[in-house]
């Protein structure tokens, strides 16, 4: 009987010894056996005892096996036992079988127990490198006769799964007879840890991108710790630990007192702080930071100050630039305002200083006209002088109108286009009637627009007046007013059948001040200049299509705001 049997059945050896003694007739053996009958009885009794004992032991072993099997089946770990002759799987618990059968390439009915490790691996569809990994692990475990842990990674078709596994050799007579493989799935833990490491890495990345660093100043042991980004911001020399002294030396002189004060308050009173300040790095670079700190208190005492420092140099520089631009803009506005005032002065000169002498001139002419002794030629001269003065008066009035229009408030409002046209028809109704003109407004696809009302009225009135003025002699004027949207702008179109303009000759100076294109009618050359300026002010433009003796079409694009008539 070998040693293990003895261990399993204590007392059996003693019974056997007695049996052997009896069989050989040794009477000096231990025990009470004296005669042959007695001997046989004793043997029979002994054998019976032995049989019973063995049967009991067998039952116990079965119990133990069942317990062991129940244990094996109930644990979450995958367990298998591999014998090292053929490397076949002699034991495999439920968890192991489930894990292996969840492999994508394994048929459901594939038996696991009894397969060799390589067969099992191949059936499961492990790659060559995975089989190699196993082999190397097994060899190491056998040669070192020690339990060896490994982290295993498998792709079972639904993403990578991770296992913490070990191979434990069972040694008999100095030889590894079995290997016990125990494996626990740690996919969730690995993923969480992976996520954590990603979060940490992202935090670092975020700090780097946003140029935010954090610090922790412990008052208990006077230790100061800085994040990598804060070290970069402060340009802390490689290998040097941050210190309060280094920190304070880096603060620009004009902000050192402030910084000392807020930190003092945080320590003594537990006050939190947020301080914008300038700093100077060891290389002499000037930077702007927004430093926020929070006092951590325990039993009424500040034990630490934690916080972040955000480098805002770019923002500060941008703000400084904006400020400079603002100053420049204010300067431009001032100049513009001066220019406007001059324009106003000019308007006054036009309305007063130019007009007054002209009015006097007219009054004097009238006085002269009243003299009785005037000859015919003198009367003709007076008439011509009056005509000339009348023209000049018109020009001055026109100039004055332009200047006054430019001084108007430019506020846009929602305008009702049909109402504006009605208003214009009222204003120049007699002119329309005199010219027997047809005004067609049936094609107003858009009835509302956002524009300065007075200016819009002026635009319509000028264009319609022009159409009437520059009519063809033998053709009654027909004027079509339409509206529509194009390129996100409201377009107001005024088309006539008048004399037209030669755009090749006049196109460039179309909207110039005092530009006139026809001599047969009165005109001051102000209207088009004015409406073009109104439209340009609103960010719009005017398109002109014209053909001599056919007519002219003005397409007035009223600017980007014109479409916002519903707002």
């Amino acid at each position: 009987m070998n040693q293990s049997t003895e261990q399993l059945v204590p007392g059996l050896q003693s019974i056997l010894d007695q049996l052997i003694c009896i069989a050989h007739g040794h009477h000096d053996c231990k025990g009470e056996v004296t005669g042959e009958d007695d001997t046989l009885d004793a043997i029979t009794v002994g054998l019976n005892m032995l049989t019973e004992e063995l049967a009991q032991r067998e039952l116990d072993l079965e119990d133990q096996n069942r317990t062991l099997e129940t244990m094996l089946e109930s644990v979450a770990e995958s367990i298998t036992m591999i014998e090292t002759e053929q490397f076949s799987l002699v034991v495999a618990n439920k968890a192991f079988i489930e894990r292996v059968t969840s492999a994508p390439n394994l048929e459901n009915d594939t038996p696991i127990r009894g397969l060799t490790l390589i067969e099992a691996a191949k059936k499961v569809g492990y790659s060559e490198s995975q089989v190699e990994f196993f082999n190397a692990w097994i060899k190491e475990s056998i040669s070192r006769k020690k339990r060896i842990h490994r982290l295993e990674e498998f792709d079972y078709g639904q993403g990578m799964r991770y296992f913490s596994s070990s191979l434990t050799p069972i040694v008999e007579a100095d030889r590894v007879k079995y290997l016990v493989y125990v494996s626990r799935e740690i996919t969730e833990e690995v993923k969480s840890s992976f996520k954590l490491s990603i979060s940490e890495s992202r935090l670092k990345q975020a700090q780097r991108i946003s140029n935010v660093g954090h610090f922790n100043f412990s008052l208990l042991d006077q230790s100061l710790s800085w994040s990598d980004q804060l070290k970069r911001i402060f340009e802390l020399p490689e290998g040097q630990d941050p210190s309060y002294e280094f920190f304070l030396n880096s603060i620009a002189p004009e902000h050192q007192e402030l910084m000392n004060s807020v930190i003092g308050n945080a320590i003594q009173k537990g006050e939190n702080f947020e301080v914008p300040h300038r700093m100077v790095t060891p290389s002499g670079k000037s930077k702007y930071l927004l430093c926020s700190g929070e006092a951590i208190r325990e039993n009424g005492q500040t034990i630490a100050i934690m916080g972040v420092a955000h480098e805002v140099t770019k923002d500060v520089i941008a703000k400084q630039r904006i400020q400079q631009q603002k100053v420049a803009l204010e300067e431009s506005n001032r100049k513009l305002s001066t220019a406007n005032n001059r324009l106003e002065e000019l308007a006054y000169i036009a309305s007063h200083d130019l007009k007054a002498p002209l009015l006097n001139f007219n009054a004097l002419l009238e006085m002269l006209e009243g003299q009785e002794e005037l000859g015919e030629f003198s009367k003709t001269l007076i008439a011509k002088m009056k005509q000339s003065a009348g023209g000049m008066n018109q020009t001055i009035q026109g100039l004055n109108t332009v200047l006054e229009n430019f001084q108007q408030q430019e506020e846009a409002e929602v305008c009702d286009i049909p109402s504006i046209i009605d208003q214009v028809q009222l204003s120049i109704g007699s002119l329309i009637e005199r010219e027997s003109a047809q005004l067609n407004v049936s094609a107003l696809a858009i009835e509302k627009t956002r524009f300065n009302k007075q200016r819009l009225e002026s635009i319509v009135q000028n264009l319609v007046s022009n159409s009437l003025k520059y009519r063809q002699e033998d053709l009654a004027p027909a004027i079509n007013i339409s509206s529509y949207t194009k390129d996100d702008e409201v377009v107001l179109e005024v088309a006539d059948n008048g004399v037209g303009i030669d755009l090749e000759i006049n196109g460039d100076r179309m909207f110039g001040l005092f530009k006139r294109f026809h001599t047969h009618v009165e005109g001051r050359g102000i209207g088009l200049h004015m409406i073009n300026s109104f439209v340009a002010d609103a960010g719009g433009h005017i398109e002109v299509e014209s053909e001599v003796n056919k007519g002219t079409t003005f397409k007035v694009h009223l600017g980007p705001e014109s479409i916002a008539y519903e707002a």
């Binding site: 308007a347 006054y348 309305s351 007063h352 007009k355 007054a356 002498p357 009015l359 006097n360 007219n362 009054a363 004097l364 006085m367 004055n400 006054e404």
Partner: protein, 123 residues
């Protein structure tokens, strides 16, 4: 009955036109002409006048300053004032309307009909 009319006008030709109209109208044979508001106040302080024809734009003291100072510093001067302007600017018209003590106003040049209507109101 002849009136004592003071013409306040810095522009020589305008003053001549007004003077001629006043003379031709027969209301006044020799209107007095001064060329700014301050001179007008000085004259009014020392002389009796029935009607002032006041220009707006003048050196030293313009028409509106004349009206302000007459009210605050010379409240005893109660002479009727007619303003004459060579500008038809709305701004000026609004300003003129803000002085209710101004009897009337007109665009230049002074017309006989306008002068007659003013004189009729004086009587």
């Amino acid at each position: 009955m002849k009136l004592r009319i003071l013409i306040v006008e810095d522009d020589e030709v305008s003053a001549f036109v007004s003077k001629t109209v006043v003379e031709q109208s027969g209301y006044c044979d020799t209107p007095v002409i001064v060329d700014n508001g301050q001179a007008a106040l000085d004259y009014l302080n020392a002389n009796e006048v029935d009607l002032v024809l006041l220009d707006i734009s003048m050196p030293v003291l313009d028409g509106f300053q004349f009206m302000d100072l007459k009210k605050t510093k010379y409240p005893n001067i109660l002479v009727p004032v007619v303003m004459l302007s060579s500008s038809d600017r709305e701004q000026e018209q609004v300003l003129m309307k803000s002085y209710p003590e101004i009897l009337d106003y007109s665009m230049k040049p002074l017309k006989k009909d306008f002068l007659s209507s003013v004189v009729n109101r004086l009587n």
